[in-house]
């Protein structure tokens, strides 16, 4: 590719955090046509849980990436990659980060997908922008790994990291003069100060979550549940429903072959009700209490134990008896009266969430 006789076009990966927003803005302010893309992996922190949980204020949360796009005035697509992304989560070529976050493979995949996108006007993009900063993340943002992302994604020198460009070899957009390298940045390391002062310079006064806080695969409690799901199934697999259910409720596994998912507030109970056709479930009859899905196949004795656990999370927790209704997957119900289990009788290792 040589000199362009038209405005260069770039697609910027927008996570919803500050860095990607700054990166897109820096390039846009050099006269490049920039569109954003936000990839929906299924593990995005936004959306699901916010939609399910009923906060006291009942405030509807905004989608951070869309909000960022509005702030800097760029069009933005949200692309569903959740199906193809499974392979990245299950078999990451470069392994995981501290938890089950396959960051390096994830970035390679996203940059590759971004390259293939068409703009809102149906045209291909000339290059891809990311908000990566050399040395910011121990695994995926070292200069060696940044070179791997460029190479393995197929983007090669069509990948521009405006926040760290001066620490990296000149990319095609810089060499061709589509962007002025002198006006790009040389940020490195974990300090966020340079980003904050650039934000100020660009008139950006508000941004969403801290960088990296947008993905459940970096969340300790969530990944514990995901690993437990794989262990209990004996295979590393999931679908979107699993991904959502892992975000909701209190997960308690008293035995390898069954798990309880107990709603923690009315929004979660309501959401869990939508799964009653797929799971056996329990509810409290004599007292107000949460809904509990039973994932697996407990024995009769184990159902009794499960009922006592559920009773413990109901308003009858201090009562002598609580009546529990258990409904199996075919819709047949039975009621049993149980004594609520005391909190100290629930072993810590059963609890996958608080």
């Amino acid at each position: 590719m040589t000199a362009l006789s038209r405005q260069p076009r770039a697609v910027a990966l927008i996570s919803g955090g500050l860095d990607s927003m700054l990166a897109a803005k820096v390039v846009q302010s050099q006269g490049v046509y920039v569109e954003g893309v936000n990839f929906f992996t299924g593990f995005c922190v936004e959306g699901h849980t916010q939609a399910v949980k009923r906060t006291k204020k009942q405030k509807v949360k905004r989608h951070s990436a869309l909000w960022c796009a509005e702030q800097i005035g760029i069009p933005m697509q949200i692309v569903d990659i959740s199906e193809d992304y499974k392979d990245i989560v299950i078999n990451p070529e470069y392994g995981y980060g501290r938890l089950l976050n396959p960051c390096l493979d994830c970035k390679i995949f996203m940059v590759n997908r971004a390259l293939d996108l068409k703009s809102n006007h149906g045209e291909p993009f000339d290059f891809v922008i990311t908000g990566e900063v050399v040395g910011q993340r121990p695994k995926s943002q070292r200069s060696e790994t940044m070179a791997i992302i460029a190479k393995d994604s197929g983007a090669e020198d069509r990948l521009l990291r405006p926040l760290s460009a001066k620490n990296l070899p000149p990319s095609l957009p810089e060499r061709e003069g589509w962007v002025d390298r002198a006006q790009l940045h040389g940020f490195s390391g974990r300090s966020r100060k340079p980003q904050f002062s650039l934000a100020k310079e660009l008139g950006i006064n508000e941004w969403s979550q801290p960088a990296g806080g947008c993905c459940f695969l970096t969340d300790e409690s969530y990944t514990k549940k995901l690993q437990d799901l794989w262990d209990s199934r004996g295979r590393r697999d999931y679908d979107l429903e699993d991904v959502v259910l892992l975000k909701i409720g209190r997960h308690i596994r008293p035995a390898p072959h069954y798990k309880l998912i107990i709603g923690r507030e009315e929004g979660e109970n309501q959401y869990l009700r939508g799964f009653r056709h797929k799971f056996a479930y329990m509810s409290t009859v004599s007292h107000v209490g949460p809904l509990c899905l039973i994932d697996g196949d407990p024995t009769k004795e184990e159902r009794l134990l499960a009922s006592r656990i559920l009773a413990r999370y109901s308003q009858g927790r201090t009562a002598r008896d609580v009546t529990i209704r258990i409904t199996d997957q075919s819709g047949v119900s039975e009621e049993i009266v149980v004594e609520p289990l005391q909190p100290h009788s629930i072993p810590r290792e059963w609890t996958l969430t608080n």
Binding site: R6, V60, K61, H63, P75, I78
Partner: protein, 87 residues
Amino acid sequence: MDANELMPGAHVLDTKGLLCPLPVIRLQEFARSVESETEVVVIATDPGVLADIPSWCRVNGHEHVSSKQLDHEFHVIVRALPQFIDS
């Protein structure tokens, strides 16, 4: 205006049960296919659409007409405009 008062030819996109941002993604897929201005009503159960769809319209040059809550559903009406090649 709700889904029952739409102009003839309006498209109904049922995204009930989907959590955000999936309703927005479905709307985007539809909007990219329109060849002329088309009114579309997105029916959703996730209240997130009340913020996300108008925001998506603003950044992508479509028109958010109205949003309404009907019982447990949200009806968001959008005028999807065909995109064009400008160079």
